[in-house]
Symmetry: C2
Subunit: 224 residues, 2 copies
């Protein structure tokens, strides 16, 4: 039987690459997106289109109002998205976001009897987010293997982070080799309804630098 | 400054006891409930009333559709709530529920600059739920201390589980000593809109046995 994997799919450059990698490795792919009160829905639309393009077994969107908690420029309209690269952990950090997302992926994986979860975290260009570090992922995996009914019955969950040690340029190179169409993806924190990028936020800058370093034409659709 | 704590408050017998304990220990209490697609809202109403009674600093309800994931009698109306005690992990187990709840509590705690989270898990009468075991809680705490911005800055989160080694009777005894009014609480999986209990599900039976063993009158409001 084909191995099943739950893949966190934001609709961005990293997660489409992870999906392409998981599919290339022969997994039956179940993609998961979150409607968590982010500033725009362009990335959710991108995720749904990408899931359809790749013919995943099932694409699920979980609604979860992280804005209730607040504390981030991505979910709180009172905090401005910065237009310059910040030092340290940026205001776009959403408290415990990857912990929450992985927890819900774990729940769905348990229901599906899937033992594999893929997440496109990156410790190189990770913008200072603590929940993108390898030591966090390892601790989550340990916890997951104590948390669930499946694990009590002897199976084990594996959290796959194929991008964790890659630069943005390497991610783009590997994705391009797998035929990924990055035009489909939305990375920008302030994308418009059509998914066009601002070109100046942290996420846009990281992405631009990646294409530049990979010497691959930047196919991003910009609003300007 | 008074120490802050986030307390998971379901509106049941265990969580009200935890709230009373945290308050007795001098914490400024922030209570958190989840509208997660459970079968009835009686426990959410009970939680809100309890939070008001105890004069908590803030009571928050996060909406989160765990029914999207399925896999439990508590969120999936196609799976019947059993009327007899089950062997092993019961169908009322919600996949990764405590992991998800604790993750969201962690996010809120981070925003509040609170370093304490209280949860009323119990490893004695835990009905076979894997995410109520001490080893799970310890692993979650380790993970939490790698997951967050606060932890990078040197602070540490503590997950408090004051009920983990108590029998239901001991919980009722300790709560009664702290003046807890258990009439306020809803434990039943099939409570009606008024919060009256069925008297026959797993949760009702555990609760009845607790009052009996504690030799304290059972003040639960039953529908029959």
């Amino acid at each position: 039987m084909q191995k099943k994997a739950v893949i966190l799919l934001s609709g961005g450059l990293d997660s489409i690459t992870v999906l392409a990698m998981a599919q290339a490795q022969g997994y039956a792919c179940y993609t998961l997106s979150f409607d968590y009160g982010q500033r725009h829905n362009a990335e959710l639309h991108a995720a749904a289109k990408i899931a359809a393009d790749y013919g995943v077994v099932e694409h699920k969107i979980i609604r979860l109002d992280l804005g209730t908690i607040g504390g981030s420029a991505l979910t709180d309209s009172d905090i401005a998205v910065p237009q310059t690269l910040e030092i340290g952990i940026p205001v776009t950090y959403v408290p415990a976001r990857n912990t929450v997302f992985l927890s819900l992926a774990l729940g769905w994986a348990e229901v599906l009897h899937a033992q594999n979860i893929f997440i496109g975290v990156n410790a190189v260009d990770y913008s200072g987010y603590p929940d993108c570090r390898p030591e966090f992922i390892a601790a989550f995996e340990t916890m997951a293997n104590l948390a669930t009914k499946v694990s009590v019955e002897g199976a084990a969950f594996k959290i796959h982070t194929p991008l964790i040690n890659l630069s943005k340029a390497q991610i783009i190179e590997q994705g391009t080799a797998l035929g990924v169409d990055y035009r489909r993806t939305v990375s920008c924190y302030s994308a418009n309804d059509d998914g066009e990028a601002c070109g100046s936020c942290d996420a846009c800058r990281l992405r631009q630098t990646g294409f530049l370093e990979a010497k691959i034409p930047d196919v991003t659709r910009y609003a300007i």
